[in-house]
C-alpha cells in the first residue's frame, strides 16, 4: 500500500491510497462510523423550559451538539469501573441557565470539565422571548456510532482514483466548461486533463462527448477523504480506527484459538 497526501485544510484531509481493495477501504469507513468513541450529551434533566421548543426537541438538539472529546480521561460506560452506574470517569455534567430575550448558543453551556466543551460555540440551541427561561442539567457520555450517530466523530469516505482517457473530442471547450469540478483545460482544438484528482466521476463529460472521453474509477487505487466533525482530529480518527480494527481482529483470533 502506498499513501500520498493530496490536500489538507480545516474541514478535511484527502489522501491517495494505492494498491488496495474496495473491501479494505470500506472496512475503514465503517469502523470510523460505528466503533470510534466520542462524547455527546445523552440525558437531559429539565428544571424549567418555557421556550417555544418542547423538552424533547431541545434535548435532541443538545444531543447533536459536537463536544470536544478527551478519550484519555473518559471511558465508555460499559468499560468503566462503576459498571454503568455513572461516575466522573464516564459521565460529564453540563448545565444551562438562561433567560430571554435572545438566542441561546451552545457556548453558554457550562461544562464541569474545561477540556470538554462545544466545538462550535455559535450553534443556536433555541431562541427565547422576554420572560422565557431555560434551566437544565445535561449529562454527556462517551459512546460509539453503533449506539447513536451523534457519537460518530466524522466521516471517512473514498472513491476510485479517476482514470480519464481523452480521445478525438469534437467540442473540447464545451466539455471543459461543463465539468462541475474543472478537471479539463481546453485550448482551441485540444482537451487536456489539468486536475485529475478533482474528478468526482460524474460522467458528464462522457455523456457530452458521446464516449470520446472515457472515465472510470480504479478498483485498486482510491482517494480517501477524512472529514472530522470536531470531536477528534483526523489523526486521532485514523489511529482510533486502526486500534479498533486490531482489537476486533485479536478478539477473533482468540476465539479461533479456543476452538482448537
Amino acid at each position: 500500500m502506498e499513501i500520498k497526501l493530496l490536500s489538507q485544510d480545516k474541514t478535511q484531509v484527502r489522501v491517495v491510497v494505492k494498491g488496495t481493495t474496495p473491501a479494505e477501504m470500506n472496512t475503514y469507513r465503517r469502523t470510523v462510523l460505528t466503533t470510534l468513541p466520542a462524547m455527546a450529551i445523552d440525558t437531559v434533566e429539565f428544571v424549567e423550559n418555557s421556550s417555544a421548543l418542547y423538552d424533547e426537541m431541545l434535548a435532541h438538539r443538545l444531543g447533536l451538539v459536537v463536544l470536544k472529546t478527551d478519550t484519555e480521561s473518559y471511558f465508555e460506560k460499559a468499560k468503566c469501573k462503576c459498571k454503568g452506574a455513572g461516575c466522573a470517569r464516564c459521565t460529564l455534567e453540563l448545565t444551562l441557565e438562561v433567560e430571554g430575550p435572545g438566542i441561546v448558543y451552545a457556548e453558554q453551556l457550562k461544562s464541569k470539565d474545561p477540556a470538554v466543551i462545544p466545538v462550535h460555540g455559535k450553534t443556536p440551541l433555541v431562541k427565547l422571548l422576554d420572560n422565557q427561561k431555560v434551566k437544565l442539567i445535561a449529562h454527556a457520555i462517551l459512546s460509539t456510532g453503533q449506539e447513536h450517530i451523534k457519537f460518530s466523530p466524522g466521516l471517512l469516505y473514498y472513491q476510485g482514483y479517476p482514470q480519464i482517457k481523452v480521445g478525438a473530442v469534437k467540442n473540447p471547450e464545451a466539455i471543459a466548461e461543463m465539468c462541475p469540478t474543472n478537471v479539463f483545460e481546453a485550448d482551441s482544438k485540444k482537451l487536456t486533463v489539468k486536475n485529475k484528482e478533482a474528478c468526482i466521476l460524474c460522467m458528464a463529460c462522457v455523456d457530452a462527448s458521446k464516449g470520446d472521453v472515457e472515465v472510470s474509477g480504479s478498483a485498486t487505487d482510491f482517494i480517501l477523504t477524512i472529514e472530522p466533525w470536531g470531536q477528534l482530529t483526523p489523526g486521532q480518527m485514523v489511529d482510533g480506527c486502526v486500534d479498533a480494527l486490531h482489537e476486533q481482529i485479536d478478539a477473533l483470533s482468540e476465539e479461533i484459538k479456543k476452538l482448537k
Partner: protein
C-alpha cells in the same frame, strides 16, 4: 422552525453557520457564493439551508399546549 444542528443526511454540523448565511444573504450576496465560502459542499447540507424558514419567532408567541 429553527435551523437543525446537523445536516439530516450527512451529519455535518451546520447550525453555527446559519447566522452568517442569513446576514450575508440579506445583504444581497447570492446564496451560492455564501454557501461555497461557508464550506457547504454537499447538496444535502445546502438543501437544509435553502429550504429552511425561521418560524420560531412566530411560534414562540403562542403558549405550548
Amino acid at each position: 422552525m429553527i435551523i437543525p444542528i446537523r445536516c439530516a443526511s450527512c451529519g455535518k454540523p451546520i447550525a453555527q453557520l446559519w447566522g452568517d448565511y442569513q446576514r450575508r444573504t440579506a445583504q444581497g450576496e447570492s446564496a451560492k457564493t455564501v454557501m461555497d465560502e461557508l464550506g457547504l459542499v454537499r447538496y444535502c447540507c445546502r438543501a437544509q439551508f435553502m429550504g429552511h424558514v425561521d418560524l420560531i419567532d412566530e411560534i414562540a408567541k403562542f403558549k405550548k399546549g
